[in-house]
């Protein structure tokens, strides 16, 4: 990636406020994600659960953001919206300058394929397919021919240092290796943003550190990363931390500021 992006500074609170407060206006190309007043409610048999109650978020290209917050605060719901797996009940969501909040299902599928790379807590690899076949999947749906597919999938696996394990099935791989296959799969179609919902939730701390090193490396090379985590140690790898509480953004600050508060007030700042 080029140096200009690499050296791009974090977005400031003022810039973010500016870009999220103007409803209906397309954000500039420097913004990977702009969400304005996102709402999402679930109907649980008559009882309405308001999972998101008006979320404003703006993420610049090449930012590395951690989303924290107590259980049930709406982190996964937000990630699903950002990842175009779900659509908001109210609000607008711009991805790379395109309004996706009212796209059709098939258009969303296309966006997921081209712009989004997902990494899940439970890896979600296809159990009967090899690592290579798993990584090829997004390219299958992108209509890439089999030879190019193989080549690109191999390359992606090599980037996560799994070149040797390509023909192994998920049950022949360790948790960390599985997650790296999932990362390779998320990256193979060169998405604009990498989304990870508790990517280290099922991993021990050493393996978690490995995965975090992979993420940092990607971020250093210009990849936009948004990651949900419960663990402050993991969040420490990001450059910016957003805390959700009861379906709204409570704080959105530089990692350093977040850590100062964390040291001062303890873990109550996230839980």
């Amino acid at each position: 990636m080029n140096n200009e992006i690499e050296e791009a500074p974090l977005s400031t609170t003022a810039e973010r406020r500016a870009v999220t407060q103007v409803a209906g206006v397309a954000p500039g190309q420097e913004w990977a994600i702009v969400a304005r007043g996102l709402k999402r409610e679930y109907d649980m048999g008559g009882e309405i659960v308001r999972a998101l109650r008006g979320v404003d978020i703006a993420v610049r290209r090449n930012e590395y953001v951690a989303i924290m917050g107590p259980s049930g605060s709406g982190k996964s719901t937000l990630m699903n919206l950002i990842g175009c797996l779900d659509t908001p009940d109210a609000g607008e969501y711009w991805l790379n300058g395109t309004l996706v909040s009212d796209m059709s299902d098939d258009q969303l599928a296309h966006v997921r394929n081209k712009e989004i790379g997902f990494v899940f807590q439970t890896f979600n690899l296809l159990p009967r397919s090899t690592a290579l076949q798993n990584v090829e999947l997004p390219l299958v749906y992108a209509g890439v021919g089999s030879e190019e597919r193989r080549a690109r999938a191999k390359e992606a696996l090599e980037r996560v240092e799994l070149g040797e394990r390509m023909d192994h099935r998920p049950n022949e791989l360790s948790g960390g290796q599985r997650q790296r296959v999932a990362i390779a799969r998320a990256l193979v179609n060169r998405p604009a943003i990498l989304l990870a919902d508790e990517p280290t939730g099922n991993l021990d701390s050493r393996t978690s550190e490995d995965i975090m090193r992979v993420f940092s490396g990607l971020s250093d090379h210009g990849q936009t990363v948004i990651m949900v985590t419960h663990e402050p140690d993991i969040a420490a790898h990001a450059r910016r931390v957003i805390v959700l509480r009861d379906g709204v953004v409570e704080t959105d600050e530089r990692k350093e500021t977040f850590h100062e508060r964390l040291t001062a007030f303890g873990s109550s700042v996230v839980g």
Binding site: N80, G83, L85, D86, D105, D106, A109, H110, R112, N113, K114, F118, F120, N124, L125, L126, R128, L137, P138, V140, Y141, A142, G143, S146, R185, N189
Partner: protein
């Protein structure tokens, strides 16, 4: 996702679950197997009836003017039989007017026939033999050649020469150790000279067609086969099908005129064709075809239900997979296609195995029973298409359920 990739994916799914797939396919397999086997029997019998049986009894483009049909394969009811018996016989006087009405290039032979006692000095016991006296064109019409000697000429017929052409069975029975040509054979006590041995006519349903003798129409035999100027019939062979129809019309109108039949009266003679004689076969064929459709249909319906259930289970089991695929960019149509192709591939595979089994059964039937079988290419094509069709039909509901799954709900399934 491209089609062949979908098929490959489907095949790999089938491969991992061989046993389950096999049982899933059983219905379609058995259905198709029956289809192939029944059709092969129907076709085989059809070929046999048309080419072998009827070809031997009534040659192509040929009809017989007779009092009653010579061949009644299907059997007749009492009333018809009685009506037949009341009909006047065909007479020698009818011959000339009938022959005069035929189109040029048409062959015709007068035929009289009976079963007569035959004896030779080489065998102590006489034996009943199918004996005919016919006019010379008979050999041409029947395309009957000789393996030894010759057939008789029109001249010999005109002169009433006591010469006879015999079938191979007759030759071997009455002349076990000598060459029959030139030897004497007594037909109904009348001495005849053997001049030819006809080439073997084969057999139908295991009955030999070589137990016959044939002599000139005007030879002395005539007194024994039919008296009082009566004949059994005239065999008329036209050059082609259209001419045959014209000849039939001509002969019918000559006969009706001669017998002074009123327009509302039915023919009191028969113009017997092989098609007519095969009518009964067409009836049987109808029943067989119904069975041939009903049995496979049951199999296919059962097969479709099983496949649909298996596919529903597959969709339920692989909900998480569907979620992952959707998260990675699969559209509804991709998921729909994946499961449709899977169930179509499954079912086509079943029908392919069914085709192989059906051909096997057909071969077994042909070798252990007298039933001739003939596997029809169209039945294979239909089977394979039916297989794919059943698979698609059975897969529509499960596949659309998969396609309509909400990605998040699907992802959360374990």
């Amino acid at each position: 996702m491209r089609f062949y990739e979908a098929v490959r994916l489907a095949l790999s799914m089938i491969r991992v679950q061989k046993l389950k797939s096999f049982f899933t396919l059983l219905g379609v397999m058995i259905g198709v197997m029956f289809l192939i086997a029944v059709v092969s029997i129907v076709e085989g019998m059809g070929h046999y009836m048309q080419d072998d049986l009827m070809g031997k009894l009534i040659p192509i483009n040929t009809f017989n003017l007779r009092q009653t049909p010579n061949v009644t394969l299907g059997g007749v009811d009492r009333a018809t039989w009685q009506e037949w018996q009341r009909r006047p016989r065909i007479k020698e006087e009818d011959i000339a007017p009938v022959l005069a009405a035929l189109s040029p290039g048409t062959r015709a032979a007068v035929v009289s026939q009976d079963n007569l006692m035959v004896e030779s000095r080489y065998v102590p016991k006489p034996k009943q033999v199918d004996a005919s006296n016919v006019t010379a064109p008979w050999f041409d019409i029947k395309k009957m050649g000789v393996t030894e000697g010759r057939v008789f000429t029109a001249q010999e017929d005109a002169l009433g020469a006591p010469v006879v052409v015999i079938g191979t069975d007759v030759a071997s029975y009455f002349f076990p150790s000598v060459d029959p040509i030139g030897r004497e054979l007594k037909v109904g006590h009348i001495p005849y000279t053997v001049i030819g041995i006809a080439e073997s006519q084969g057999s139908v349903f295991g009955i030999s067609l070589d137990k016959f003798i044939v002599a000139p129409y005007n030879s002395p035999l005539k007194r024994l086969t039919n008296r009082h100027g009566v004949i059994d019939g005239i065999m008329i062979q036209s050059s082609d099908e259209t001419t045959m129809l014209a000849n039939e019309d001509a002969v019918r109108s000559v006969m009706r005129t001669r017998r002074k039949l009123l327009p509302q009266q039915k023919d009191n003679f028969v113009l017997e064709t092989s098609d007519q004689d095969l009518e009964f076969w067409n009836k049987i064929k109808g029943y067989l075809v119904v069975a041939g459709i009903a049995l496979p249909a049951i199999g296919l319906v059962v097969g479709a239900i099983v496949i649909m259930n298996i596919m529903l289970v597959a969709v339920a089991e692989r909900t998480a997979e569907i979620g992952v695929r959707k998260a990675l960019g699969a559209r509804r149509q991709d998921i729909l296609a994946q499961f449709l192709v899977e169930s179509a591939t499954l079912s086509t595979l079943g029908s392919a195995i069914g085709v192989v089994c059906g051909i096997g059964i057909s071969a077994i039937i042909a070798s252990v029973s007298p039933l001739p079988t003939h596997v029809a290419l169209w039945s294979i094509v239909v089977s394979v298409m039916l297989g794919a069709g059943v698979g698609i039909a059975a897969g529509v509901y499960p596949a659309s359920r998969a396609a309509l799954l909400d990605p998040i709900t699907a992802l959360r399934a374990e």
